[in-house]
Amino acid sequence: MSTIAFAGAVHQSGAGESVLETLLRHGADVPYSCRKGTCLTCMLVARSGEVPDFASEALKPTEREQGMFLACQCPADRDLTVALPNRATIYGRARIQSKEALAPEVCRVRIRPANDLYYHAGQFINLQRADGLSRSYSLASVPSLDEHLEIHVRRLSGGAMSSWIFDTLAVGDEVDIQGALGSSYYLPGRPEQDMLLIGTGTGLAPLYGIVRDALASGHRGKIALYHGSRAPNGLYLRDALRKLAAAHDTFTYTPCISGDSAEHDCRVGRADLLALDDHASLDGWRVHLCGYPPMVHAAKKSAYLAGASLADIFTDPFDLKDLRAAPRDSEAARSDIW
């Protein structure tokens, strides 16, 4: 039995628990989100005690040097004294530059960080509201093409953050952002490599960035984008993508509707199934999969079986994002998000 000291209290850990689980079980007020070591929301600082290297693997060397680690990745099988890191070292201020509807349930938010953010198209940021509520959003913008950061937010029924962004957040408001994070982005090496991009819902956002980044970087291989939605009105940015396809021989755009309603110029069926059907061999291809987690996981397996190397398959399942729990909420509140 070990103890985790936090904010003046000492908590007994349970068998097999992570530091985060111990703290949450005792009702400690710590931010967290994905619980999988990806979103970096649960970063803590170890004031005393040894934290294993793997619990800080995902962090920057400068953060590790300050004793930061991920509470969800650190086993609570050792005595530790932990604290919240100084927020200013993680989050930066940013201002809302514009907000516009792209579809009935999708809006585009442009954000201007107070300090330039170094990022790649396709990475994500964590956006934090003043009360600590935090969500991850993929970046649809491209550093070399766009002046501001761009995210696409889908309104989720009961989603605390998305409702707030739709209904309350206004141009000129300030938010905190952390990032950029994630390793699913365009790499300029191998410009002749063919690319297959599959996204569902706002999984289009990072792909919209990656496509434009690749084209602007002079990518010579084929770039095939499949965007899936249950209903036609979820296929946002259709005009922009058709224009892009008309302007570039190497780029094709295939909007796919998986629900009942058919529409002119859209394929009928699930985007991942249609894409894999159209590409029997993905030997040598680069593949990006973003959005609905079961789609991402199934398509990853299919792409690998079709010959893509695992090192060339980049995934961005949105369970780490839109499905996020509000910090400090119970499991019951988590399921509310849908």
Partner: protein, 125 residues
């Protein structure tokens, strides 16, 4: 045994052979509906690394991958019903992988024998 297996590892091309074999083997295993469900929800990169360690062992490249690893790694699968038929299916995919890569019959025989020797550990007996 160790001199024989070392020879086989080198004879079939060492680390490069492992790299060539791992994707062929893992794809066969994943694509087999009689066993693929055991891999549902697993991290594919991690799984591929495990397949690589396993192949390195049966190709005689290293002793790092121990019977204890095999036993504990498969215990949750045994709880889910992993049995001799599944073991045989995987062994079949290993044989097919060796055939596909053109591994000579003698080396393949030794490799298959090494693999067969893991049956009790894998099935936790």
């Amino acid at each position: 045994m160790s001199t024989t297996t070392e020879t086989i590892f080198d004879r079939i091309g060492g680390q490069a052979a492992i790299e060539a074999a791992v994707d062929v083997f893992y794809r066969k295993v994943l694509a087999d509906p009689t066993i693929s469900h055991f891999f549902d929800g697993t991290d594919m990169e991690e799984q591929r690394a495990k397949q690589k360690a396993f192949l390195t062992m049966v190709f005689g490249g290293t002793d790092d991958y121990t019977g204890k690893d095999l036993r504990s790694a498969h215990a949750p699968l045994v709880a889910k019903g992993l049995n001799d038929a599944h073991f045989d299916a995987v062994a079949g995919h290993l044989q097919a992988t060796l055939d596909e890569l053109g591994v000579d019959a003698e080396s393949a025989g030794v490799i298959m024998e090494t693999a067969a020797g893991t049956r009790d550990e894998v099935l936790n007996r």
